[in-house]
């Protein structure tokens, strides 16, 4: 499932590399909730290729419309308001891809993720990446990168964090990190299972698999 393939066997466009990576972590036939599912491309892939029972949450009318038109079940809503209503253990896997930084209370969202899902796959832009640091250090201005393309005043990303911040928040919330990956902007893995300072420096995207802490 390399990122080089343009179209898959069904003639569908290949998944974005980070979504492809997530898809690889999801077992067949499981129940999946994709929060911020956009046009439903990941859910559609999981439904078609792995026989998963998928649900989505998406904030935009257009995203919901495109998802529904693909035959997916998607609720127009957001991670801050629409997770409370799902029961405990409703899903095997909950996906929050590049959305955490746009939520109002990321800490509450993380707690909800591992409450309603057995496992949660979370990815977010890493503000600790050396280019962000250099941007701020040298230019003294808020970084604008490929992963964070917005000006400071109109960005939907209201709660940016670093890989280190995220790891500490998980510990604080009693959430166990099962897998940690640092990715470059194209979604290629640059460091595996070491959520350390080095990953924080070289990763443009942090991707984590979370579970509830065993007590």
């Amino acid at each position: 499932m390399g990122p080089g393939v343009i179209r898959d066997a069904h003639g569908y466009p290949a998944l974005r590399p980070d979504l492809d990576l997530i898809a690889g972590m999801v077992e067949p036939q499981v129940r999946v909730l994709d929060i911020g599912c956009g046009d439903g491309v990941l859910l559609h892939y999981l439904d078609r290729e792995k026989g998963c029972d998928g649900r989505g949450i998406e904030i935009s009318q257009q995203g919901v419309q495109e998802s529904v038109a693909r035959g997916l079940s998607v609720i127009q809503g957001d991670a801050d308001h629409d997770l409370d209503f799902f029961p405990d253990d409703a899903f095997d896997v909950v996906v929050l891809s590049q959305t955490l930084q746009a939520t109002r209370r990321p800490d509450m969202v993380i707690r909800n993720l591992v409450r309603i899902g057995r496992r949660a796959i979370v990815s977010f832009p890493n503000f600790g990446h050396w280019r962000c640091r250099a941007h701020l250090l040298i230019r003294g201005r808020m970084p604008r990168t490929r992963g964070l393309p917005y000006a400071w005043y109109d960005t939907p990303n209201i709660h940016l964090c670093t890989i280190t911040d995220f790891v500490r928040s998980c510990a604080h919330a009693g959430v166990r990190i099962e897998t940690s990956l640092a990715l470059d902007s194209r979604g290629r893995v640059v460091r595996r299972n070491a959520p350390d300072g080095y990953a924080n420096l070289i990763g443009e995207i942090g991707m984590f698999v979370l579970t509830r802490d065993r007590v």
Partner: protein, 409 residues
């Protein structure tokens, strides 16, 4: 054929058992012609119990069908009409001469495609377009029912529809689709008969009628009952009709179907056919003239007592109350695929009500899609040409059809 007017309670064309339009020919071909009103005689052997404690039977339900039922009998969609709608979802209405009420959404090649699906649209129990209702004859007394007609509920309407579906030989509907009161019926179908439908599309609706909505309905009912021509509901025997009261009821209701923006865009403060104010109580403003027109045309096709009964049925609707006060319990264990749709400027059934339905279904890990359509046209938007709305319905049904194994034709 349909009775010629909604108001003739038992006119010469009122279809009885001998009426040629009567459909008791079995289940060979209930779909010979599109859009023809047929009358199904139901609950013949044993009366149907009602929520109010009384029972009713036999029951006549007027309905139309469009498209073809496939060999597997798996492509039937029940269309549920709103408060003042009827079975004429498509095609010229026999009373008003206007197009069907959902021509924007339903028809060949449209979002609800009659080339692919078999549509059934029934006039509700308590209605006045050929179904058993207060304008019909009470078999026990031989008199027109009037207000002796039992109070019916949304659940009673759905029971009668289920009998109709039995009568047509359909075990499971592919989908039940409806807006406003029709949407209430959709939710009731999903809650009480989840095994008899694959998909549900409740549009611009709610799981309960709000206090504000009950208040508006009460104004309408009081207008009817205050009309001296109402005669405590026995106006037919007096040779009169409470047209003024019914028109006022319609005018009030009609305001709730629009939004302030829709009224402003349509009329503003423009004057009607005059250059200056009359300083009197004629319809100076276009909006007044419009409402008077809405009221006066409505009375030609609707029965006042039917209006009382149907508004009451909506008022009593509260799906959560019927399930121990927890709405989610209404959908527990349901395998129905839902598509809940609201409109941003609808203040009669605001988006929050639809979102509550979607969340209740999600709370029992049900299969639900929900979207709010951006529009300034108010509650009525579900009856108007809203392309995004149509695309959502089409996409959802198409996806559901794939899961239900319904082939493209």
């Amino acid at each position: 054929m349909a009775p010629d007017t909604g108001r003739a309670p038992a006119g010469p064309e009122d279809p009885g058992p001998e009426n040629p339009g009567h459909d008791d020919s079995g289940q060979k071909d209930p779909l010979a012609a599109d859009g023809v009103t047929r009358i199904a005689c139901l609950a013949v052997d044993k009366p149907m119990p009602l929520d109010c404690g009384r029972s009713l039977g036999p029951i006549e339900i007027a309905y139309t069908t469009f498209g073809r039922l496939n060999a597997a009998r798996s492509n039937a969609i029940l269309i549920c009409h709103a408060l003042t709608g009827d079975q004429h979802v498509l095609g010229t209405h026999p009373v008003t001469g206007k197009p069907g009420w959902w021509e924007t959404l339903v028809g060949p090649g449209r979002a609800i495609d009659t080339d692919r699906y078999f549509l059934i649209c029934s006039n509700i129990l308590g209605g006045c377009m050929g179904s058993t209702g207060p304008a019909g004859i009470d078999p026990a007394t031989g008199r027109i029912w009037g207000t002796d007609f039992p109070v019916v509920t949304i659940a009673d309407m759905v029971r009668a529809q289920a009998l109709l579906i039995d009568h047509l030989g359909i075990k499971r509907l592919f989908a039940v689709v409806g807006g406003s009161m029709g949407g209430m019926q959709v939710l009731q179908w999903a809650a009480s008969l989840p095994d008899r439908l694959f998909a549900a599309v409740p549009i611009a609706t709610a799981a309960r009628h709000s206090a504000q909505n009950i208040a508006f309905h009460e104004v309408g009912r009081q207008a009817i009952m205050a009309d001296p021509d109402w005669h405590h509901g026995r106006y037919a025997e007096h040779g009169s009709r409470p047209v003024k009261g019914l028109a006022v009821a319609r005018m009030t209701a009609h305001i709730t179907y629009l939004s302030e923006m829709a009224l402003h865009n349509k009329f503003g403060r423009r004057l009607q056919d005059r250059g200056a104010r009359s300083y009197g109580f004629d319809a100076d403003f276009q909006v007044e003239s419009y409402l008077r027109h809405q009221g006066s045309t409505f009375v030609d096709r609707f029965d006042a007592n039917s209006y009382l009964y149907i508004t009451r049925a909506m008022d009593y609707f509260d799906l959560a109350a019927d399930h121990g006060g927890v709405l989610a319990h209404a959908f527990r264990g349901s395998r129905v695929r839902f598509c809940v749709i609201s409109f941003s400027s609808d203040w009669l059934f605001p988006t929050a009500e639809s979102r509550a339905v979607a969340r209740a279904i999600a709370a029992v890990a049900g299969n639900v899609s929900f979207t709010e359509i951006e529009t300034d046209r108010g509650h009525d938007a579900f009856l108007l040409d809203e392309p995004v709305f149509a695309r959502i319905v089409e996409g959802f049904l198409d996806g559901a059809a794939g899961h239900a194994g319904i082939d493209r034709t």
